[in-house]
């Protein structure tokens, strides 16, 4: 009896998405090392990757990278299907919807920083709604809203600036370069 082999066919685009999701995951792991004044207040560095992917490869790719990162994070940190995981998912979904809506803004006037700030607000809105309706249905949660909103504005602006700066200075990734990069050990570009 021969063992059946399941072979998943993956395209270079899939590999690219996976690598970007891994990069985003690396950044969210990194920021777990930073002490947080309040649970839930964190820089959200992984969103820098999402913003760059959104600008270069479109909303679908950004959605893939974000959801893969959230899933992988849940599985690896053991929070999969725990309350914290659902908070991540609701925040990620809300900010993806907001980023989709942002694509209708005129690009001449609004850039990555706007996307980042609006997505950060959407993220915290999604998380707080879930927290309020499912986890802690208590009005006391309202007292934390200004703190979360201020953090979202600050980190949204900073992440947006970093992403915008990267987009202005770095060359986009080219699929044909993957093999060359792997051989020469050149650093990976998003």
């Amino acid at each position: 009896m021969t063992a059946s082999t399941i072979k998943l066919i993956s395209t270079p685009e899939d590999h690219h998405l996976a690598r970007m999701a891994a990069l985003a995951f690396g950044l969210s792991t990194l920021e777990m090392a930073f002490p947080s004044p309040l649970p839930g207040v964190k820089p959200g560095l992984a969103n820098i990757v999402t913003l760059i992917v959104l600008t270069r490869y479109g909303w679908r790719a950004a959605a893939w990278v974000t959801m893969l990162r959230v899933m992988a994070g849940g599985l690896l940190f053991g929070s999969f299907l725990a309350p914290g995981f659902f908070l991540s998912v609701s925040g990620a979904l809300c900010s993806l919807v907001m980023l989709g809506a942002c694509s209708h803004l005129p690009t001449r006037w609004f850039g990555t920083v706007t996307q980042s700030i609006l997505a950060a607000f959407a993220h915290i809105t999604g998380q707080l709604c879930l927290a309020y309706f499912l986890l802690i249905p208590h009005v006391g949660l309202l007292y934390l809203v200004p703190i979360f909103a201020a953090a979202a504005l600050l980190f949204g602006t900073v992440n947006g600036l970093i992403a915008a700066r990267y987009l202005n200075t770095e060359k986009p990734f080219n699929h044909r370069d993957t093999e060359t990069q792997r051989k020469t050990g050149e650093p990976y570009a998003i």
């Binding site: 007292y143 200004p146 700066r165």
Partner: protein, 127 residues
């Protein structure tokens, strides 16, 4: 060096979003963090409600307690304990209170005055 300080990646609309965000955060803080205007003073003596006085009229209320009479003054929508027979005078030295949820307690004379707004606020005592 100056090129590092300039921010070409910020577009005009980004500034708009940033300032709108700041205004939004300020608005949230102002609406969600204000203690609320106080409407009435609830005066307790020996644990029971002695009187609920409106802040609209200026008046002085005399509240009897085990040590003597505590005088509570309401002036211009603010309240203070004007005099109290307690030995350490903590509630008198607390001065004027004006926000909903604030409370002055004269423990030895078992008198307290608490300010209430339209909606009851949570504090660490009744949380």
């Amino acid at each position: 060096m100056l090129s590092h300080l300039s921010l070409p990646q910020i577009k005009p609309g980004d500034w708009f979003t940033l300032f709108a965000g700041m205004a939004g955060v300020a608005f949230l803080a102002a609406t969600l963090w204000q203690g609320g205007a106080a409407d009435k003073a609830v005066i307790r003596s020996g644990g029971k409600i002695f009187r609920e006085a409106s802040l609209a009229t200026n008046q002085t209320i005399d509240v009897p307690g085990p040590l003597g009479v505590t005088h509570i003054a309401i002036t211009d929508r603010r309240v203070r304990v004007a005099s109290d027979p307690s030995p350490r005078q903590y509630c008198v030295r607390q001065g004027w209170i004006a926000q909903a949820g604030e409370i002055a307690i004269c423990l030895p004379n078992q008198v307290s005055v608490e300010l209430r707004g339209r909606q009851r606020n949570y504090d660490s005592l009744n949380y």
